[in-house]
Symmetry: C2
Subunit: 448 residues, 2 copies
């Protein structure tokens, strides 16, 4: 027997059946505040949570609306059961991807007067340039802000996290965040801590060449991000960017383990102390998981652990020979709440600074040690200075990137200022930001 409501189940299915609605019917959904969505009822996508009704709007986008938000359903027109048009609609059924535009080169253009690149192009304009996007999904595009990524702050992380959360609540099948590349790694980490136990990957994507240049990597990166959010088996925040300078492959890097490692190359983003989660063939647009240590998709929106607050009184401070202790003293005097030190080697800073650090901890400031070598792990038990720093209350940052530790400390301190609890949370491995297994081939090969 044919199923006229494929994918729908439980309460939503019974409501739709009660109204005589079936796939291909034109329906009208009334929400609070007299908001109305009208369009063709679409099949339910396997990844969507069960309370979602999917409607293709007249502008061509699919939208997922939770039954909980719907106060009334009208069936406007129904085509013949099992007829050609209904079959056509079923075959054309597409998942819905939310695109959250946050600026950056992927949505930028060259100012021809000056030659400089300015953020300008909206994700909607981008889709006009990249018609292939329509092969994979329908889209719901929202421009959150249009700034260059160096102007991102923890307040922006919060806004993006909230939009992602709302989008998943609305029943989308995938989420792509377009973002400037300079600080994309930081935002990816912030979203990863804010939105745990995700029912789908959140794919951050950017471009190293602006999207109106012939050599742009924007189109392929964006398509790869769409494929990742729709098809990858993991429920993690990832950065999707070219893996080589040629247009053959992209990586989906774990957001808490990725870093921009080159100022201009297309393959600037690389996983540090971890393997990327997946690679995407840019010719076939096929995704293949290459890291088995991942967090699988959760069952749905309800399972998300959402906590998107950040403490902006945290500093990331780099150690160097001659580092002036007065910089630590200043942060203490200014009542900062946390300091992440980008130390040397196994986690060191000049021993003459220990007294300032001890004072910071005594005044309730969380101090976390990471390493400027980026690769490898801190181990503060090997040398005397490390032991003295531990004894002064410094929290070792394991193999976390300094940038990730900075984001994490900001996220932790928004939840607790109790130093014991802060330490416990910093050492808790929430989203694979700590990799307990370092294999030999995590270190890249220098070609000399």
């Amino acid at each position: 027997m044919d199923d006229y409501l494929p994918g729908y189940r439980d309460f939503v299915r019974s409501v739709l059946e009660k109204h005589g609605a079936r796939i291909g019917c034109r329906i009208r959904l009334w929400l609070a505040n007299n908001m109305v969505f009208e369009g063709i009822l679409m099949p339910h996508h396997e990844f969507s949570s069960s309370d979602i009704i999917v409607v293709k709007l007249d502008n061509g986008y699919n939208i997922g609306i939770s039954i909980n938000r719907v106060s009334k359903i009208d069936v406007v027109e129904c085509i013949e059961r099992g007829g050609a048009r209904a079959q056509e609609v079923i075959q054309k059924q597409k998942p819905v991807v939310k695109i959250l535009g946050c600026g950056g080169t992927i949505a930028s253009r060259v100012e021809y007067e000056t030659g400089a690149v300015k953020p300008a192009m909206s994700p909607a304009e981008l889709m006009e340039i990249i018609p292939e996007l329509k092969d994979f999904a329908g889209y719901d595009v929202e421009v959150l802000f249009n700034i260059l990524s160096e102007d991102m702050t923890p307040a922006h992380w919060k806004a993006i996290a909230e939009s992602v959360y709302k989008s998943i609540a609305n029943g989308v099948d995938g989420i792509v965040v377009t973002h400037g590349t300079d600080t994309m790694g930081y935002t990816a980490a912030a979203l990863a801590f804010s939105l745990q136990n995700l029912p789908m990957p959140i794919a951050l994507v950017g471009a190293q060449r602006s999207s109106d240049r012939p050599s742009t990597d924007a189109a392929l990166n964006l398509l790869a991000a769409v494929v990742t959010t729709l098809k990858a088996p993991f429920g993690e925040v990832v950065v999707v960017m070219h893996s080589t300078p040629s247009d053959t492959e992209a990586f989906a890097h774990r957001g808490v383990k990725v870093r921009k490692m080159h100022s201009s190359r297309r393959d600037a983003f690389q996983s540090i102390n971890d393997f990327p989660l997946a690679k995407i063939d840019l010719m076939k647009m096929e995704i293949k998981t290459i890291n088995n240590r991942f967090i699988p998709r959760s069952k749905g929106f309800e399972e998300i652990k959402f906590s998107a607050s950040f403490d902006d009184k945290v500093a990331l401070v780099k150690a160097y020979p001659g580092f002036q202790s007065e910089i630590i003293d200043f942060l203490v005097d200014k009542k900062f709440h946390g300091i992440v030190i980008e130390g040397t080697g196994l986690g060191h800073i000049g021993s003459y600074t220990i007294e300032s650090i001890r004072r910071a901890v005594e005044e309730g400031i969380a101090v976390v040690m990471t390493t400027q070598t980026l690769f490898g792990r801190v181990n503060m038990n090997v040398y005397t200075t490390g032991r003295r720093l531990l004894e002064a209350g410094v929290i070792p940052g394991e193999d976390m990137l300094p940038e990730t530790a900075y984001v994490k400390l900001s996220w932790v301190l928004a939840q607790t200022r109790d130093l014991k609890e802060v330490k416990k949370m910093m050492l808790t491995n929430y989203v694979n930001e700590i990799n307990p297994v370092h294999t030999h081939n995590l270190y890249p090969i220098w070609i000399h």
Copy 2:
């Protein structure tokens, strides 16, 4: 006709001839303050400057002493001309290498009470452990200080540079600096700026495993450093360390282009934005130049441009989302002389900080921009924020490592505080700290 004073020429040769001294004679050299060196007159090494007299002391070390320091020469005893003993001495003739001990793991041991590693072993003790050292040279060992490298400061850089300068003045054939690895890259850069136009490579060397552990890399690294300083054709400051985790090969990295990239691996040191200058086969202890863009050895001590002062009122500040402008304001208020920003991407920091940076420049503080991507070059003409920073007076750091730019700015500011002159010097390529030629294969390969 036999030459009884091989290698000696000009004034030194005439003085030795006048005294009837020849190779193999036991001679006594009187210096200022009644200092006396007594030993066997050795042949003159091809790399030594022409004013040097080489004497093998009774402790087995060769020492080179400038004729300019000698107030009187006594010939104590001469063996038969052309006799067996003189031939033996000639055959055993060895160059003299100065080893300057500056601490670090290469000269450390495990405290068995606590399991921690403490600096302890002197370079002299180290040579007892590594008898192979005697195959390559005679040694003059001096322990400058015995500290862990996180405690190095610009004052230590100055002291090391002065010792290197003095050692070359004394006529040694090579110089090896043993140093902790955490900040070895910074010291290498400091020596490179302080001692330009060198007649020999200065080889900094360290170990990732302490020298009394069976797995130590100290022995092979030290031997490779000796080979480098004696045999390499360049007159640059280099870091000599394992190129792979196995004991097969070491690299001699250009000191201004090298960075510790792993907290614990033996091959932690890697050249960034440049190729190493040479590789050393650790089995055969043979050196091969692999980078043709190098500064050749100068003719001798007289040609060295020596300038070893550093301004310690320079800060290295990392940019991050939410970076607090008040950190810049604090450095301005505290009358710092220079700030190196480790910016994002092509050389950015949140545009909301530009006013603080403008004020810094207006108050005569040199502000230099580098990138935290490490690989690649800053280009502040591409995006609006970069252009505004340039307009505010920020000096672009080209492809210099943030760490190298920090050392260089400290060196420049010790010579001039005039911002125009500072800018000119920061953009002058003194010792290949700027690489104008980036080839594709300068970026390592991540194995995924």
